[in-house]
Symmetry: C2
Subunit: 284 residues, 2 copies
């Protein structure tokens, strides 16, 4: 077992995992973090499970070799297909982003179905349906793929008419037909899970459009925030919380094009990004 | 040198190159084509030149091993960084998608600057600026990255308010400020090049919005169509045109997830897609 003074390792296929880093740094400000964005092979969401597992093992071993005390898989695709393999292959506690969001959604939705926005890969994998079933035998999941939100987030186009119409189109799947023009529509879901690490950038917009479509607030579950709570719990249980009372450090590594990563990363991280270093994961 | 009866090899990082296949099959209906979409490693546009060259060599060698008589690089990113290496490493005629579009644009634009829509990678590489400079010392290039059009094309969202607003926002870069609300704006360009293989799906929309913004038709240069003309020329020059008078065959290979590729490919190809087979390019 690693020392409590060691950093946490966080990885994703690219930028999105920085929203999880942001939530971790909000919740656990003294923990140091080593982040790895495998942007040479982004996106993982369109690849086969075998390929994703191979890539994920490469990232995880790289972070293990840097002495991390625990691993946070800040990627829905990897969380949905590779967590078991990572736990079997590595001598480290491993947390994904799907179970924490699914657990919170199960309480938030009550008896109503749970709406999930994700990439095509996450939705078609049925990962949230399986995760929710592990908490409740009654809860149903309604998934909606929202790939354009990833492109909009990476372009920084998170406000205005286009993201609003895109969000509205995706959220419409969670509502019944418009019975009387202009009047609220019946909601099919009790909450909506942000099932992709890019989507916290649209949280406010999603909340407003949910209200506007259905005429009442429907809770939005942010997987990044729930994951940070989960990591806090595993650190506490294992006595692995850092003894430091200083602000934790943050190191960021990518597998390609550190400069262009740096230029958009702060939007996801919510703070200035430290120098981004490039490393090579040829083993994968 | 290969036999005229051999097929042409066409490759791209994913789906987009199928618009080039479509143009080739329109122009050269008797030629058979072997297409390779390296979707396990898509997109190339966000990767470093070294990585793109390595991937491109892998694709090109795969097609060479299948006995093609010539190679069409149906990918702007590869065309901008790897053509020289491919020509040096392979004993095959190689055509890219940038020079043909740049040449046509140089005539279409007259003395005015040339507008280019492309991915962030293509635009920031300056590939069109260099290509245009090789035809004309006077022509200037105004590049505009349009990454959302790639996402919209892959989702099949090519009509309606959202693609219209997205196209309009990108095209606005080619016009001066609105002097009087509602009146046409001064155009800064003499033509607009579709500098990404996904963009022919928006050709009609782009033509309408160009007219609407500037109050007159501005010619749109489709690189895929120009590339087909280029390929026809190199086949003629080398006596490599097929002797067959039958409709050419089309074989499609991908490096990941053939089923999901098949489900969207016909939108790009403009005809039913034959069975898509998967192959492995580990050497790259």
């Amino acid at each position: 077992m690693r020392s409590p003074a060691a950093p946490l390792g966080v990885f994703d296929s690219g930028l999105g995992g920085l929203t999880v880093v942001r939530a971790l740094r909000d919740r656990l400000p003294h923990e140091s973090i080593v982040y790895l964005g495998d942007n040479a092979r982004v996106p993982y969401g369109t690849r086969s499970p075998e390929t994703v597992i191979r890539y994920a093992l490469g990232c995880a071993r790289e972070l293990e070799s840097r002495g991390v005390k625990g691993l946070v898989v800040a990627c829905n695709t990897v969380s949905s297909v590779a967590l078991e393999v990572l736990r079997a292959e590595l001598d480290l506690p491993v947390s994904g982003v799907i179970l924490p969001g699914a657990r919170a959604a199960t309480s938030a939705a009550g008896d109503a179905p749970i709406g999930v926005l994700g990439t095509l890969g996450t939705i078609s994998s049925g990962a949230y349906t399986r995760a929710v079933a592990s908490f409740s035998s009654r809860s149903e999941v309604l998934g909606q793929a929202a790939p354009l939100l990833v492109a909009l987030a990476e372009e920084g186009w998170t406000e205005g008419e286009v993201p609003r119409l895109v969000v509205r189109r995706y959220l419409s799947a969670f509502f019944g037909p418009e019975e009387i023009p202009g009047l609220p529509r019946a909601s099919k879901v009790g909450c909506v899970v942000l099932g992709c690490t890019h989507f916290p950038l649209f949280r406010g917009l999603i909340e407003r459009e949910l209200y506007d479509l259905g005429g009442r607030g429907i809770p939005v579950v942010d997987s990044a925030v729930q994951t940070a709570l989960d990591v806090e719990a595993f650190l506490d249980e294992r006595g692995l919380g850092t003894p430091s009372r200083e602000r934790g450090t943050l190191e960021v590594f990518v597998t390609d094009m550190p400069k262009s990563f740096e230029s958009v990363a702060s939007r996801f991280l919510g703070e200035a990004v430290p120098t981004v270093e490039q490393l090579d994961l040829r083993a994968g």
